[in-house]
Symmetry: C2
Subunit: 217 residues, 2 copies
């Protein structure tokens, strides 16, 4: 790892680059230019070059990037070689959508425990994943050493869930509720506020002439 | 509307500001400082002041912002007074999660039509919303003049759906599939790639020391 700090926007684009490189590699391509990469992932090539610059010399100007080298580099960066187990709290429609999908095609992420209060689903196996009662959250997260969790409950109770997760040693929370959670500095929150996202899209559609044309990741 | 171009990151934060202002207003607060706003929405106050600066003088330094004025201003910006009807394509678990939720608390957004191929749900009313067959997509989107649509299908078929939506006059698409869609310049795509998002979070957790501490919206 380079000593240079990486902007979050760059970090967020790494999985995108990685996935496309994996695709290129599996289809036998050896080299890729930043222009081709740009076209495929819909991020302008200046941004791509700037992103890559944070990781030092990954390619030579005019020669393009070596697909396998770059793929392996990002694989390491993204810790693709190690499986990350994730817990999900809330197994309603959203939780089930995430469990059905279970990050297929991402060999490195698996939701391996669910938590809910609905007696219909508690103590069953859904899509291969055991569903525990919410009351067992702290105990199970500690025992199974989850570092990352997804909160997919409707909203109320989310702060208490976040408190339990933080106390049980979780370091990263993906939060689907519209609530802003308060957590210790040791815990990172990724808010996925679909309502805000959609409202922003509507805003973009209505005022498209007034918004800068950067990439929208 | 000011002539100055607004960065996308700013545009994306507007709904967040608006929601908190609405909350303050409903609880009787007259003034809010950028520091208080910052604490509540978890965005640093320098970013807030910079965001607001794109809209001209919204407050006086040291006096804080007038809650009602600011709320009304953002309400107009976000077109809160007009209801935007949204179509959703794919009424599986994710689609149902979005339909159940249906942007409650956002008076200005409503999913008002669903499309699927599952005969079990086609031609029924789910959560008050009619579900049409996917084959009727173009016809219904044209007839009901949808400008914004959500693609919540598993993946295959998403490009054809996007083609149909673009031809039927849709201007904004929220895309939940991991596919990068190709659309005319007149259509905006908002990619919500939950797999990428989670992978980024894991990356943040693992390399937290190497990532810049900006806000993470």
């Amino acid at each position: 790892m380079n000593d240079k700090k990486i902007p979050k926007a760059t970090a967020k684009r790494l999985p995108l680059y990685y996935r496309y490189l994996k695709y290129l590699f599996s289809s036998g391509k050896k080299k890729v230019s930043s222009a081709d990469l740009s076209e495929a992932v819909k991020i302008d090539s200046a941004t791509i070059r700037r992103d890559f610059s944070y990781f030092g010399a990954l390619g030579k100007r005019g020669y393009g990037y070596d697909v396998e080298d770059l793929m392996n580099f990002f694989s390491k960066q993204l810790n693709q070689e190690q499986l990350t187990h994730v817990a999900i709290i809330g197994v309603g429609h959203l939780g089930r959508a995430l469990l059905n999908y279970n990050f297929q095609g991402q060999n490195s992420i698996r939701i391996s425990a669910g938590f809910d209060i609905d007696e219909e689903i508690v103590n069953t196996i859904y899509e291969g994943v055991p569903i525990y009662h919410r009351d067992e959250l702290k105990e199970q997260v500690e025992a199974q050493q989850f570092e990352v969790a997804i909160i997919a409950v409707p909203g109320p109770g989310a702060q208490e869930i976040a408190d339990d997760l933080a106390e049980a040693g979780v370091k990263g929370i993906m939060n689907f509720t519209p609530l802003r959670l308060t957590v210790p500095d040791t815990v990172r929150i990724l808010n996925v506020d679909l309502s805000n996202e959609l409202q922003s899209l509507i805003y973009f559609v209505q005022y498209s002439d007034s918004i800068m044309d950067e990439d929208m990741e």
